[in-house]
């Protein structure tokens, strides 16, 4: 291959000039977004820190979480803290009194979402969380984590549709089973669903 010295440099200069000119009119060349003024559309699969889903209007009563602590156990960086509710007699209730996620530790790995048997914890897409308070503001409490199902549907429509369908089917099956059960043995109370989990 014959190679004239200096030709490679000229080719390089031509290439950068092409990019210079191209950056003004070829849309693929300038990928920069002027962030606070413009924003990229949030992808449907995007995930950033978990949230808790509740049905209905009341975040306290409608919370799907039953405090089974599976996510707390499986969370790789151990950033979830759950304390269960107790009633006056000290009996453990099926909902969390405290549900904290330390998002300064959380790495958005989504494992809590995958292991949750109740579809109670899902990934949020909120990413503008910068704050001046290093400790307090980065510890999300139950009230901050609780988000209505409609919010989840808006963030992840495809996934939420699947979950809703699954939950509806499960509820239907449960209702049918309960009706059957009811018909058979009215006295025997139904076993709590969460205790059947291994």
């Amino acid at each position: 291959m014959k190679h004239t010295p200096g030709w490679g440099l000229l080719k390089g200069l031509f290439e950068t000039a092409r990019n210079f000119v191209g950056s003004y009119y070829q849309p693929g060349r300038l990928t920069t977004i002027e962030y606070p003024d413009e924003r990229l559309p949030v992808q449907e699969n995007f995930r950033n820190f978990p949230m808790l889903i509740y049905d209905g209007a009341d975040p306290e009563r409608g919370l799907r979480c039953v405090g089974c602590k599976i996510c707390e156990k499986e969370c790789p960086p151990q950033c979830i803290y759950i304390v269960l509710e107790r009633d006056r007699s000290g009996k453990v209730q099926k909902r969390p009194r405290l549900f904290d996620i330390d998002v300064s530790v959380c790495m958005s790995c989504q494992i809590c979402v995958e292991v949750c048997p109740f579809d109670a914890i899902k990934m949020n897409t909120e990413y503008e969380l910068s704050t001046g308070d290093r400790f307090g503001a980065l510890l999300l409490r139950k009230a901050e984590l609780a988000k209505p199902n409609e919010y989840y549907r808006r963030l992840h429509p495809t996934e939420a549709a699947e979950v809703d369908a699954r939950l509806a089917a499960a509820a239907q099956a449960k209702a049918a089973a309960q009706a059957k059960e009811q018909a058979k043995l009215t006295a025997k109370p139904a076993k709590p669903a969460w205790s059947t989990q291994p």
């Binding site: 803290y81 904290d100 330390d102 400790f135 510890l139």
Partner: protein, 220 residues
């Protein structure tokens, strides 16, 4: 294509050939219970270098590439063996269960994964075991045979405390030079010298309180 390449000999055959080639080498084929069932070859430290050289230079093996070197810490294990014996007690023959406990002393292992670049086969897993987990934690360094073991043996030395005899430059590699312990050992206890920060986690707060009280500090 590479389907036609000769598969590596079985471990048993390699062992037989090695015993013939390296006089006095103590070799043992270690079974692997996993689905992979990739057995390994244990070699004693005294003959390790000679064995390694044979493995590298033998025409049928040509294990010229040492991919992975690592350590494994096996703690002291208490093994319970239950023996049923018949004994005559009070004129009656009775069956008795006798449980004896004995401690299998722990040891450290250095594991080498060998491949052949020339013949494209492998791996052959080579293991060396130390005598114990304290002063006798010594094995032979295979860095003179495979240069790739240099940093990895240093790492095993650093994190497990296995001394590789014959290593040209055995220093700590990941931890700092003044560090005393070997963090990858199973019985390693974290030093209580972190800079604790306010956290909702009670255990950490308790630890911090202990730590700063011990240090005479006033932070917590």
């Amino acid at each position: 294509m590479s389907d036609l390449r000769p598969a590596m000999e079985t471990l048993e055959r390699i062992r037989t050939r090695l015993e013939a080639a390296v006089a006095g080498a103590e070799l043992e084929v270690v079974a692997n219970g996993a689905v992979a069932a990739q057995g390994s070859l244990r070699v004693d430290a005294a003959h390790a270098v000679a064995v390694a050289r044979f493995l590298r230079d033998d025409a049928q093996l040509q294990l010229d590439y040492c991919s992975n070197v690592t350590g494994v810490d096996w703690l002291d294990r208490v093994v319970r063996t239950t023996v049923r014996t018949r004994r005559v007690i009070d004129g009656l023959e009775r069956e008795l269960e006798q449980t004896t406990e004995h401690t299998v002393p722990g040891y450290l292992e250095a594991v080498y994964h060998l491949y052949s670049v020339a013949l494209r086969h492998g791996p052959l897993v080579l293991r060396q075991r130390t005598a114990d987990r304290a002063d006798g934690a010594r094995v032979a360094s295979l860095t003179p045979v495979w240069r790739s073991a240099e940093f990895q043996e240093r790492e095993v030395y650093d994190l497990f405390g296995v001394v590789f005899e014959g290593h040209p430059d055995l220093r700590r590699i990941l931890m700092w030079d003044e560090f005393r312990d070997h963090p990858m050992r199973k019985d390693y206890v974290e030093p209580d010298d972190y800079e604790y920060e306010p956290t909702p986690h009670d255990e950490v707060l308790a630890k911090a309180r202990r730590h700063y009280a011990g240090a005479g500090g006033d932070r917590a």
